[in-house]
């Protein structure tokens, strides 16, 4: 007998496609925030599925810190062509040049937090009313509280204590002029779900996710990639190691892990038995216990 039951990946896929179509129906100027990481790759892939055979009715938006891995940028340009989507790039460097933000100093300097200003400025400039992102609730404790449709006030701020209730799958995207929404189609996916899906659908990923040789240096338990704008402290030294990245942000906030996993099967096996959380390699989260919540309230993803 035929069983009318979807396995969990197909159920998650269907839910995400439903959310993406709901965005296209409820908003006038959505954009999909694209970082070049696996989650935003999967969201853009799902968008392609959701509107097939038509083109995805919104562009990709990349907020470029200028400190990205060259592999990420190469992959981004290749992927955009493959999907036939439009890409809009806004640069943190421009925000710095305009005096909108001030570059951090010292060996811990990162443009991660500066991105928020560039993002909010782009949302205003491009009149974006729905910014779609790949954030998942399992990633981080503040993200566990997110809605699929998450309201932002006219300052782009999140008020986690006063969110709209979200019932069944009836998403309320109504808003006042100047406000916008953040949309999270992968809310219910876990890291492992994303990897299983990538494997099942044979989705291309940047080579950074797979094991390779790289010059890295160690700082407070994290392995940083060596790059021209990465300053080493006295006493720190770089060496070549076999590593891969479990998450991809910009170089200043993404730690590498030592790994020999070169295939999806090996990566999935590694993650399934991993004793550390995914964002354990994210230096941006380690700044304080509520680092993510504080940044999210300001308008970060």
């Amino acid at each position: 007998m035929f069983s009318y039951r979807l396995d969990h990946l197909r159920e998650l896929e269907s839910e995400s496609i439903y959310v993406l179509r709901e965005v296209a129906a409820q908003f006038e100027r959505p954009a999909l925030l694209f970082s070049g990481g696996k989650d935003s790759i999967v969201v853009s892939y799902l968008a392609m599925k959701a509107f097939y055979p038509a083109r995805v009715p919104f562009p990709l938006l990349h907020i470029d810190t200028g400190h990205n891995f060259s592999e990420t940028i190469e992959f981004r340009d290749h992927w955009v062509q493959k999907l036939g989507m439009n890409l809009i790039v806004r640069n943190v460097q421009d925000s710095i040049d305009k005096g909108r933000v001030k570059e951090e100093k010292g060996i811990y300097a990162s443009r991660n937090a500066l991105q928020t200003v560039t993002l909010l400025d782009s949302i205003t400039e491009l009149k974006i009313d729905a910014a779609i992102g790949g954030a998942r609730r399992d990633e981080e404790k503040a993200r566990a509280k997110e809605r699929f449709f998450s309201h932002r006030d006219e300052f782009g701020q999140w008020d986690p204590k006063n969110q709209r209730p979200e019932l069944w799958n009836l998403y309320n995207g109504r808003k006042q002029q100047g406000e916008h929404f953040r949309i999270f189609p992968l809310s219910n996916w876990t890291e492992l779900d994303v990897w299983h899906y990538v494997q099942k659908e044979k989705i291309e990923l940047p080579s950074l996710y797979f094991s390779h040789k790289r010059n890295v240096f160690e700082r407070s338990g994290n392995l940083y990639a060596l790059a021209e704008f990465m300053k080493m402290a006295p006493g720190e030294s770089a060496s070549e190691k076999i590593v891969r990245f479990r998450t991809i942000g910009d170089i200043t906030c993404t730690g590498a892990v030592e790994s020999t996993a070169t295939s999806l099967e090996e990566i999935i096996a590694e993650i399934a038995t991993s004793r550390l959380t995914e964002r354990g390699t994210r230096i941006d989260d380690q700044r304080s216990e509520s680092a993510m919540e504080d940044r999210k309230k300001q308008g970060y993803f």
Partner: protein, 420 residues
């Protein structure tokens, strides 16, 4: 152990408890004993526990989310947690037991297959337990598990457990609930959570984990009445797909096959399904909760908010809607108030015609003389809509029987309705 398998079932459940009945500890225990806790997470709660002068690792710290929650030691909003075993992936909607209890519980319950109700063995049934059971039945969560927790503090007494089971049964006999299981547990020490209790040998039932992994959920979805709310019309502006006009959406009930004779509401036009499309190719049979695209044989006018159904099995069509309502906002609801109503993919305006009664959820008595709903009130009302809705009773189909009310001025979601 995280599952390596890619094809497992998904079970969504909601947890309801009162203050201090060990709900967070239980969730922490489930995560820990199924090896879904990472070393860095464990190290972090261990150090926090030590800082606070506790000799044991406080598992409840695993579920704290917001800064205010950590500071005040309370849960403010629904939080979602994820874990998996080789058999199933679980999504927990973890709802706080105290402030805005109804609003949060209703939210968590709306998507759940199963409700997990916690009772402190020392206290037995309390007012909150009654509320939780009532809301679970109102939202028609198909399965309920009552965990009688802190058995370690009542000497693992069978009498205490059985008294609570009797009390719950007495109360729930007045509710519409089908499947209720009772399990005596100690979340703190892990008895009957994932592993069987070596002390409570008098208990012959399953552990909580076994139940969560095996409860039969495939019968929870309506596969009889065909309902397809049109969500978005797909019209590629490319030569290759010149005449393509697809109606995309998520199937809300029933099974659709190509060749089926269908009717479109509200127009009443009929046609046949030419093809059921997806990115991965043609779909032979589509059923809830699949997201697909339907193509029809005839060119008829169909847009978002319309519903495609089988001609011989139509939903109710009407503008006078009788429903159970949970009010979620401080601004009161009164007869004569107007709201935006969202039902499936359809937005209409509506007016409150009448408040029939409110329910005292502690006693289940009807209150008929209060014609106003405040935050967290539940009761029966009647609405008149500007345009017809195509609906089923919530009992028959949760997708086509549910609606939300939106305040026209603030755009906030203020009410959750279940059509009678």
């Amino acid at each position: 152990m995280n599952s390596l398998k890619a094809d497992i079932e998904l079970l969504r459940f909601t947890t309801c408890g009162s203050v201090d009945d060990g709900k967070s500890t239980l969730i922490g225990r489930l995560l820990l004993d199924t090896k879904n806790i990472f070393d860095d997470q464990y190290a972090s709660i261990k150090s926090t526990s030590e800082q606070r002068g506790s000799s044991e690792v406080d598992l409840s710290l695993l579920t704290d989310g917001l800064k205010a929650e950590r500071e005040q030691g309370i849960t403010i909003d629904v939080a979602y947690r994820y874990f998996s075993t080789p058999k199933r992936k679980f999504i927990i909607a973890d709802t706080p037991g105290h402030i805005q209890y109804t609003r949060n519980m209703v939210t968590g319950a709306s998507t759940a297959n199963l409700a997990l109700i916690l009772i402190d063995a020392r206290k037995g049934m309390v007012e909150q337990t009654c509320r939780h059971a009532f809301i679970a039945s109102l939202l028609r969560i198909p399965h309920i598990v009552v965990c009688i927790n802190k058995m370690d503090l009542v000497d693992y007494s069978r009498e205490v457990y059985e008294k609570i089971v009797d009390d719950f049964r007495m109360f729930s006999s007045r509710l519409d609930v089908q499947d209720v299981q009772f399990i005596p547990i100690s979340a703190k020490f892990g008895d009957n959570v994932v592993s069987r209790s070596s002390i409570m040998d008098w208990y012959e039932g399953t552990t909580l984990m076994f139940h969560l992994e095996n409860v039969h959920i495939s019968g929870d979805i309506n596969h009889i009445d065909c309902r397809f709310p049109v969500q978005y019309v797909i019209r590629p502006q490319q030569d290759e797909f010149h005449d393509y006009r697809g109606y995309s959406g998520k199937i809300a009930g029933g099974v659709f096959r190509s060749g089926d004779k269908v009717m479109v509401l509200p127009s009443g036009f009929t046609s046949r399904i030419k093809r059921i499309d997806s990115f991965d190719g043609e779909v032979m049979e589509a059923f809830a909760p699949m997201s697909v695209t339907l193509l029809l044989e005839d060119e008829i006018d169909v847009s978002r908010g319309d519903m495609i159904v089988r001609e011989n099995n139509a939903p109710q069509v009407g503008q006078d809607i009788d429903l159970m309502l949970c009010w979620l906002h401080e601004k009161k609801l009164e007869p004569g108030n107007r709201y935006i109503l969202r039902h499936t993919s359809r937005d209409v305006r509506c007016m409150v015609k009448d408040i029939r009664y409110k329910i005292d959820i502690n006693t289940l008595r009807r209150i008929e003389d209060e014609k106003v709903f405040g935050m967290n009130d539940i009761g029966r009302i009647q609405l008149r809509t500007t345009l017809p809705l195509f609906f089923d009773s919530y009992r028959r189909n949760r997708n086509t029987g549910s609606l939300i009310l939106i305040d026209e001025a603030t755009n906030e979601t203020v009410g959750a309705g279940m059509i009678l």
